[in-house]
Amino acid sequence: MVDYHSPMYLQLRETILEKIKSGVYLPGQAIPSEREMASFYGVNRMTVKHAVSTLVEEGLLYRIHGSGTFVKAVPGKIDVGAGGFGGLSIGIRAAGMIPQSKVLYLHRQPASPEIAALFSCDPQEMFYHLGRVRQADSHPFSVQYAVFPAAYFPGALEIDFSKASLYEFMGQMGRAPVAFKDSVQAVAACPKLAKLLELSPGQIVFQCDYLSYDKDNCLVEQNRSFFRPDKVTFKLHLHIE
């Protein structure tokens, strides 16, 4: 167990790991630079480098030369995108299960009027549309529909999103989502959605709509996801004056 007497690099490693597990650092997101962490924590830069290197060797972080160090995976958690800190977060009752994704479709098309208005772009701009069923131990818990700008994410059509994380890919393009505007409501599942989630038509599911923004406050994703109610809960973190 890491405590006050442990080597400094292990204490720092534990801090970074805890932030990855709790969702402060999201998959695909860059962690602060070694120089920033050394300055903030008041430690030698080599100590930071050692702590980060252990997490890179363990496969939890990866480095992109000239760009930074990014979060690769979250131990014991299924990455469903938005949430993890701040106002609204999601808990998946899937601990210990193996996460999988099945791609329903991935294509590129010009913006609809609604998408063009949302992203404040020209209607001729191209966007990717990605539909996926997210599973745990081969049982569906979520259906997700993501729309993101082709200009920001060239080469997305070559990515196998049944295996790759969308947010990891976005991070590799330097546009990892770091801020979200979420809303969650309960809706009745239409027959098509019910079939994908292995539910009866009309059964109540969670619908989560969110917009994802990168570190420059650029809108990088519009997402609508549906969740089986027996697999997830949501948490609203209250601050009332």
């Binding site: 701040g86 979200f180 505007k181 409501q185 009745a188 948490k235 609203l236 973190h237 209250l238 601050h239």
Partner: protein, 162 residues
């Protein structure tokens, strides 16, 4: 029409309904001793006095939310009398009669099936359950609540990060 519920609002229909007409029917209000579950949520020793309030809330005359809350008696002395005489609005009392401000808390939102008794009061095959604790001074629990709402009543919204 759905009601927007943000992370900066109290979890009571009277606070959330805006211009829509609300009316609540008090089903139960008394001081009881906290059981194990309530004690854990409110971080109290077991058998601590708490007020238990249960209301059926109507929106435009339609039963919409079954609100249940447990309030720490020591932090809100005389709550039952004030509720009956001064104001039947929990938030109003907490803010003005007891001068609490800057509430924090965490609320869990889930979808549940009704009990037979609940289904009589609030007819629906499923409910959205809102379960949480309100704290004052960032650390002191004052209210534990466990509400059941019609599934399409609320849209929960927040902005995170950035």
């Amino acid at each position: 029409m759905s009601i927007i519920r943000t992370d900066q609002q109290f979890p009571f229909l009277s606070q959330l309904a805006g211009r829509q007409r609300t009316h609540s029917r008090t089903l139960h209000l008394e001081m009881i001793e906290s059981n194990r579950e309530i004690s854990q949520f409110l971080k109290l020793p077991i058998a601590t006095p708490v007020y238990y309030l249960r209301c059926l809330c109507l929106l435009d005359e339609v039963p919409s939310v079954l609100e249940r809350c447990w309030i720490v008696q020591k932090l809100a002395p005389g709550f039952a009398a004030r509720y009956n005489q001064e104001s039947s609005d929990v938030c109003d009392l907490l803010k003005h009669a007891y001068s609490f401000s800057f509430f924090h808390g965490e609320e869990e939102i889930s979808i549940v099936a009704p009990s037979p008794e609940e289904q009589v009061l609030l007819p629906s095959q499923e409910y959205v359950r809102m379960q949480g604790v309100l704290l004052v001074n960032e650390t002191t629990p004052v209210v534990y609540y466990d509400h059941l709402a019609l599934p399409e009543l609320y849209v929960f919204s927040a902005r995170e990060g950035g």
